[in-house]
C-alpha cells in the first residue's frame, strides 16, 4: 500500500490527523512510506516524536502497535513467547497412547504462541504502524534483534520457521540520543531530527490543541517559551509543556502574560528549582537593566538604549 502520495499529501494528511508537520518532517515521512524503510526520529524530549507515529496511524486508519523499550527488554518481551502453562495442560490432557512426536508437533503451533509487539506487527494483514519507542534505552543486544526485523521484515522462530511480513508495517523508531545507536541500525533507517518548532508553528500547534486560547496571549506565551529555550536550562520546555501552560492560563483565567502571571505559573513549564530561579532572574534582569554583567556570555550588543 502507499502511505502517502507526495510530501505535500503527507503534510496535509498529518494536518488532518492534528499534527502540524514542517517540510522536512513531511518529506521524510513520505519517503519512509514510499521507500518502505523504517524511520528513526531523534530529538529532545517532548517535541512530538511519539505523536508523529500516532498521527501517521490516524491519518491512514492504521493500527498502532507499540513496543516501549527499557533497559533489560529481551526477546521474550519484544518478539514472542511460548505459552508454557497452556503447553503443560495440553501435554497432561493427551491420552497416554499418543506418541511423543505427535504431542511435540502439537504443542509448538500457533495456538501456543504469544506474539509480542514485533511479531504482531509483522503478522498483521491490515495496515499497521509499528512504534518502537525510546530505542536508545535498550541494550545493544536488542538492537541486533531489531536488525532482522527492520531490514527484511521477518522473524525467525526456531520451532516454526521464518515468518515474513505479508504487508510491511510503517516502522517509526524514536530516540532521545542518550546513547549512540549502532551504525548498522542507523543505516537501515531514514533519519529525522525533530527540534523545537519556530514561533509561528508553535503558536499554531498550541492553538490547535487549545482552541479557547486568546490569539495575542498565545503569541506572548510562544515568545516566552522561545526565550526560556535560549537560556540553557537543564530541561528546556517542550511543546507538551507549552500546551500545558496554555491550558493552565485558561484554567486560571489569565488574560495577559505579565510578570505576575509568569511568577505564578512558571512551575508548569520548568520542573527544576534551579531552572526556575535562573529564568526568573533572567526575565527580571532583561526587563530592568539591559546591561547586566551576568548576561555578558550571551551574544548581545553593548548598548541597547
Amino acid at each position: 500500500m502507499t502511505w502517502f502520495q507526495s510530501p505535500a499529501d503527507a503534510s496535509e494528511q498529518l494536518h488532518e490527523a492534528a499534527y502540524l508537520a514542517d517540510t522536512s518532517t513531511a518529506t521524510t515521512t513520505y519517503l519512509a512510506g514510499a521507500l518502505e524503510k523504517p524511520l528513526l526520529v531523534e530529538g529532545p524530549a517532548g517535541v512530538g516524536k511519539t505523536e508523529l507515529a500516532k498521527a501517521i496511524a490516524r491519518a491512514n486508519g492504521a493500527e498502532l502497535v507499540r513496543l516501549q523499550c527499557y533497559e533489560g527488554l529481551d526477546e521474550a518481551r519484544a518478539l514472542y513467547e511460548w505459552n508454557y502453562k497452556k503447553q503443560l495442560l495440553r501435554i497432561q490432557a493427551t491420552s497416554s497412547d499418543q506418541a511423543w512426536e505427535e504431542t511435540h508437533d502439537d504443542i509448538f503451533t500457533d495456538e501456543f504462541l504469544l506474539p509480542r509487539p514485533l511479531l504482531t506487527a509483522i503478522r498483521r494483514e491490515q495496515p499497521t504502524v509499528l512504534l518502537i519507542d525510546e530505542v536508545d534505552k535498550t541494550d545493544i543486544e536488542v538492537e541486533g534483534l531489531l536488525l532482522e526485523v527492520l531490514s527484511d521484515f521477518q522473524v525467525t522462530i526456531p520451532e516454526m520457521g521464518t515468518v515474513t511480513a505479508v504487508r510491511r508495517p510503517f516502522v517509526v523508531l524514536t530516540s532521545n540520543a542518550t546513547r549512540e545507536l549502532s551504525e548498522a541500525l542507523k543505516r537501515r533507517c531514514l533519519f529525522l531530527h525533530l527540534d523545537y518548532p519556530d514561533a509561528v508553528r508553535e503558536k499554531e500547534i498550541v492553538l490547535s490543541q487549545v482552541p479557547d486560547l486568546d490569539d495575542t496571549l498565545a503569541g506572548q506565551l510562544v515568545q516566552m517559551i522561545a526565550r526560556l529555550r535560549e537560556m540553557e536550562l537543564k530541561k528546556a520546555p517542550s511543546i507538551a509543556e507549552s500546551v500545558d501552560w496554555a491550558r493552565t492560563l485558561i484554567a486560571l483565567e489569565v488574560s495577559d502574560l505579565d510578570e505576575k502571571a509568569v511568577d505564578a505559573t512558571l512551575g508548569v513549564v520548568l520542573k527544576h528549582a534551579s531552572d526556575q530561579d535562573k529564568a526568573l532572574a533572567a526575565l527580571r534582569g532583561d526587563a530592568n537593566r539591559p546591561g547586566r554583567p551576568g548576561s555578558a556570555a550571551r551574544p548581545r550588543p553593548r548598548s541597547v538604549r
Binding site: 519517503l31 521507500l35 540520543a177 533519519f191 515568545q223 526565550r227
Partner: protein, 470 residues
C-alpha cells in the same frame, strides 16, 4: 556535469567532511531523489538529509555542502526562484562589479538603502527577501577587488563589515517595538537572532560564489568548518563555544550511560564456590547455575590541575566541566587552576550548577591564579607540593591540563615527578597538536617523559580520554 555525477561528487564531499555515508545510503538517496523530483529545493534537501545524514551534529556540514553542490541560483542573480528575480539589483549588476571604482558617496547611499531594506525584511522575517538581500549584499559589498587570479574574490567579512551588524540590531530592535511591545530584552534577542541568521545566509552565499569560480570541492576543502565535536578548542569562535557548552551536558550523560553499561558487563566477579555448591544440591550435585561474588565498584579520587592562561582557557574549562558532570564516577574531585599562582576551584562546582555560570566563575578564577600573568608550570607545581601535597594519595588520579608552554622558565620536573609518584595514575591532556609539542617555549616532551601525555584538541577526543580515565 550530469545529475548523477553531481550527486556522486556531493556524496564524496560528505565523506571527505567526515560523514559516514555507506553505499546503501547512497542508493537510498538516489531513490529518494528520483521519487521526490528536483522541483522543490527544500524538499530535495529534506529527502537527501533523511537518507544520508544520521547524526544531528553533522547537519551544519551537510547543509553547507548541499548549498555548494545544489546551489539555489547561478551567477550574480540570474535566479531560479521568481522572488529573487524581481530584485532590482540584477539589472544594474554591471556597475556593481566595478563597485570599487564608484565614489564613496554612492556606496554610502547604496549601503543605506540596503540597510533600510534589511531592517524591513527582518522585521517581517521574510525568508525570500532576506535571501535576495544576502545575494545583493555580497554582490555590492562582498567583492575583494584587486586580488589576483585564483584567489577568492568574495568575502563575507567585507559584507558584514560594510553592513555593520551592531547598527542593524539596534535599528531592528526599534522597528520591532510596534510588533512585540515594550520589552527591550525580548526585542534585542529577537533582533540579534535575525541578524545572525542573515549573516549565515551571507556566508552561504559567499561560499556559493567562490564555488562557482573554483569548483565545489575546493571550497568544501578550504572553507568548511569541521563538525562541533571535531572542532579544535583553540580555534573555536564565540558561537562555537556556546554550542560546545550546550554539548557538554548531553556528552556527559552519554558517557555516563556508556560507563554504567560497561561496568554492568564487568560486574560478575570471581566464582562463589560455597553458593554454587549449595545451589547444585537441588540438581543432584550438578552445578547448573553458577554464583559469583559481586565486584566492588571501584571509584577513585581525582585531582585536576588546570592551566587557565588565555591560550588554553577554553580547553581547560570544558574539561573541568565534563569531569565535574561525571562527579558520580569519582568519590572526590578536587580542582585547581593556575597561571603562575595556584587557586583551588573545587567550590565552584555545586551539584546541579549551571554550566554558563560555572564557566564565568572559572574565568574569574584565572584572575586569582595569576600574579604576573605569565604561565609558570614549575612554580605552580611547586606551590601545589607546598600547599596541597596531601590531596594526592595512592587512591587518587592526577590530571594535568595544559599546553606545557612555560615561558622558558624552570619546568619543575622534580615537583611533577614527586606528584606522579604520590598518585595512583597520572595523565596530562595537551590541547595542541602532537607536532607542535616541543616547539618554541613548549616543554611538552620533557613533561611527557614523566606523565602519559595525550593530545586532546576537540570534544570527541576529550570524551574518549575522559572515558579511559574514569
Amino acid at each position: 556535469m550530469t545529475l548523477l555525477d553531481r550527486h556522486l561528487a556531493f556524496v564524496r564531499a560528505l565523506r571527505t567532511a567526515g560523514l559516514p555515508v555507506s553505499l546503501a545510503e547512497d542508493l537510498d538517496s538516489v531513490r529518494a531523489m528520483t521519487d521526490l523530483g528536483l522541483a522543490d529545493r527544500e524538499t530535495l534537501r529534506a529527502g537527501l538529509a533523511a537518507t544520508l545524514l544520521k547524526r544531528e551534529n553533522h547537519r551544519p556540514s551537510f547543509d553547507a555542502l548541499f548549498d555548494l553542490h545544489y546551489p539555489a541560483l547561478l551567477g550574480s542573480g540570474v535566479s531560479l526562484t521568481p522572488e529573487v528575480s524581481t530584485d532590482p539589483t540584477s539589472e544594474d549588476r554591471g556597475d556593481a562589479q566595478t563597485s570599487s571604482a564608484t565614489s564613496a558617496a554612492e556606496r554610502e547611499a547604496r549601503l543605506a538603502e540596503l540597510r533600510g531594506d534589511l531592517v524591513e525584511a527582518m522585521a517581517s522575517d521574510d525568508a525570500a527577501a532576506l535571501q535576495a538581500l544576502a545575494v545583493r549584499g555580497v554582490e555590492q559589498f562582498g567583492a575583494m577587488p584587486g586580488r589576483g587570479q585564483g584567489l577568492s574574490q568574495w568575502s563575507s567579512y567585507n559584507t558584514m563589515r560594510a553592513v555593520s551588524p551592531d547598527t542593524l540590531v539596534l535599528r531592528l530592535a526599534r522597528a520591532l517595538a510596534a510588533e512585540q511591545g515594550e520589552d527591550p530584552g525580548l526585542r534585542t534577542t529577537t533582533a540579534t537572532r535575525r541578524v545572525d541568521a542573515w549573516r549565515r545566509r551571507v556566508e552561504t552565499e559567499v561560499r556559493r560564489r567562490i564555488a562557482e569560480d573554483k569548483g565545489a570541492e575546493h571550497v568544501a576543502r578550504t572553507t568548511l568548518r569541521p563538525t562541533i565535536d571535531q572542532l579544535a578548542f583553540t580555534s573555536a569562535r564565540r558561537d562555537d563555544i556556546a554550542e560546545m557548552r550546550r554539548q557538554i551536558g548531553p556528552l556527559a550523560r552519554r558517557l555516563a550511560t556508556r560507563l554504567a553499561k560497561e561496568q554492568h558487563a564487568r560486574r560478575r566477579g570471581p566464582l562463589d564456590v560455597r553458593r554454587t555448591v549449595r545451589a547444585s544440591l537441588a540438581t543432584g550435585g550438578v552445578p547448573i547455575t553458577t554464583h559469583h561474588r559481586p565486584k566492588r565498584p571501584h571509584r577513585s579520587e581525582l585531582v585536576v590541575l588546570c592551566d587557565v592562561s588565555g591560550s588554553v582557557a577554553n580547553f581547560a574549562s570544558f574539561t573541568l566541566l565534563l569531569v565535574y558532570a561525571l562527579r558520580e564516577q569519582f568519590t572526590k574531585v578536587r580542582a585547581f587552576t593556575f597561571v603562575d599562582d595556584l587557586h583551588e576551584v573545587t567550590g565552584e562546582f555545586t551539584p546541579g550548577a549551571d554550566p554558563e555560570e560555572v564557566l564565568t566563575r572559572l574565568a574569574d578564577s584565572a584572575r586569582h591564579a595569576s600574579m604576573w600573568g605569565r604561565t609558570d608550570y614549575g612554580r605552580a607545581f611547586g606551590l601545589f607540593q607546598e600547599r596541597h601535597a596531601d590531596a594526592l594519595t595512592p587512591k587518587s588520579g592526577l590530571l594535568v591540563l595544559g599546553d606545557g608552554r612555560s615561558n622558558y622558565t624552570d619546568p619543575g620536573l622534580h615537583h611533577l615527578r614527586q606528584m606522579t609518584a604520590a598518585a595512583r595514575h597520572a595523565w596530562w591532556l595537551n590541547p595542541e597538536h602532537t607536532r607542535q609539542w616541543g616547539t618554541g617555549d613548549s616543554a611538552a616532551p620533557e613533561y611527557a617523559e614523566v606523565v602519559a601525555m595525550a593530545e586532546c584538541r576537540n570534544l570527541a577526543q576529550l570524551t574518549e580520554i575522559v572515558h579511559d580515565i574514569v
